[in-house]
Symmetry: C2
């Protein structure tokens, strides 16, 4: 059946995701990608199609990896408030250490307005995150921790939007207090 691939497809895709995540679509050249993926130019085209197709696959991979992290965190047993607080505080720490934001948020900003494929993926990812928030809120209500919440779907939308706003703000300022203020007020709506 011919020669085997010398590189691991998933590993290469992961590297591509990191390049696109860090630099965005337009600012990532094939040169950059080839270098960081440690594969040959031709192998890239043979395996992933063209640049745009690779980008979409990287978005899909991000969703698999990062979204599942969020879902997993929100589904941890115990206090829903504590889980939410931890999610937002982790976001602050990442905003202060890395500066690349959220790959989905970056994709929304750069391409979702012009590219349907990207819009579909960012929208789908938002839907998945929304469901995770929603389920967590429902559980919090059922367990009596979140008595004040009326429209859980609305609050879930709000939380996702707030998280994106927080991460975006973290690109402009490195001031920890500003980011903590945002989280404090955000979480006050589920207090």
């Amino acid at each position: 059946m011919g020669r085997q691939k010398e590189f691991d497809r998933e590993e290469a895709l992961h590297k591509a995701m990191e390049v696109f995540w860090t630099r965005g679509y337009g600012a990532s050249s094939i040169q950059d990608l080839v270098k960081h993926m440690s594969i040959n130019r031709q192998s890239l085209y043979d395996t992933f199609g063209d640049k745009h197709a690779l980008y979409l696959q990287a978005l899909d991979r991000y969703r698999e990896v990062e979204s599942h992290k969020i879902i997993e965190l929100l589904e941890r047993p115990g206090s829903v408030k504590r889980n939410l607080r931890q999610l937002f505080e982790t976001a602050i720490e990442k905003a202060l250490s890395e500066r690349r934001g959220c790959f989905m948020g970056n994709a929304m900003s750069e391409l979702a307005g012009r590219c349907k494929d990207t819009a579909a993926r960012t929208c789908g990812n938002m839907g998945a995150a929304h469901e995770a928030f929603y389920r967590a809120l429902l559980r919090g209500k059922k367990e009596g921790e979140l008595k004040r919440i009326r429209d859980a779907r609305a609050v879930a939308h709000f939380l996702y939007s707030s998280l994106q706003g927080l991460v975006l703000t973290g690109k402009a300022t490195q001031d920890r207090k500003t980011l903590k203020d945002i989280v404090t007020v955000t979480l006050s709506v589920i207090d």
Copy 2:
């Protein structure tokens, strides 16, 4: 003193701002800019310097025009709550009709992490908006409309971040209800 310019500098800069706002920095070519600004290539370089310098001037112009709109709206006499509601509802309408988001938000996402000049401008703009929110909240407190607010600076940071999150979310989804949900919950913190 030689020949006069055949174009209006401010008008050309305004056009450049619209191109950068709509397409972002990387995806705007000098070709695009020249075309939409209706000036010659050389005039662009003579008048504004290179592409990057033009971008920064476009950011400055955006701040002058758009930030002042926000400040003006928030300083209107009468109910602070009403003013804030109108600001957020206008943001929804713009998100649904145009798809270009907020130029400052776009700049944060695309460049603030890599370019100090851009970071300084987005940060400065955030500071100005923060002050506008803060003054509005203080007035609301003084006039007895916003009794529940304790840390007005924190709420001001929150409102700016939420606005950015809302606008970004509007790039992924065109669903009006989702956006209205976000605004409803956001404004519940100043209720």
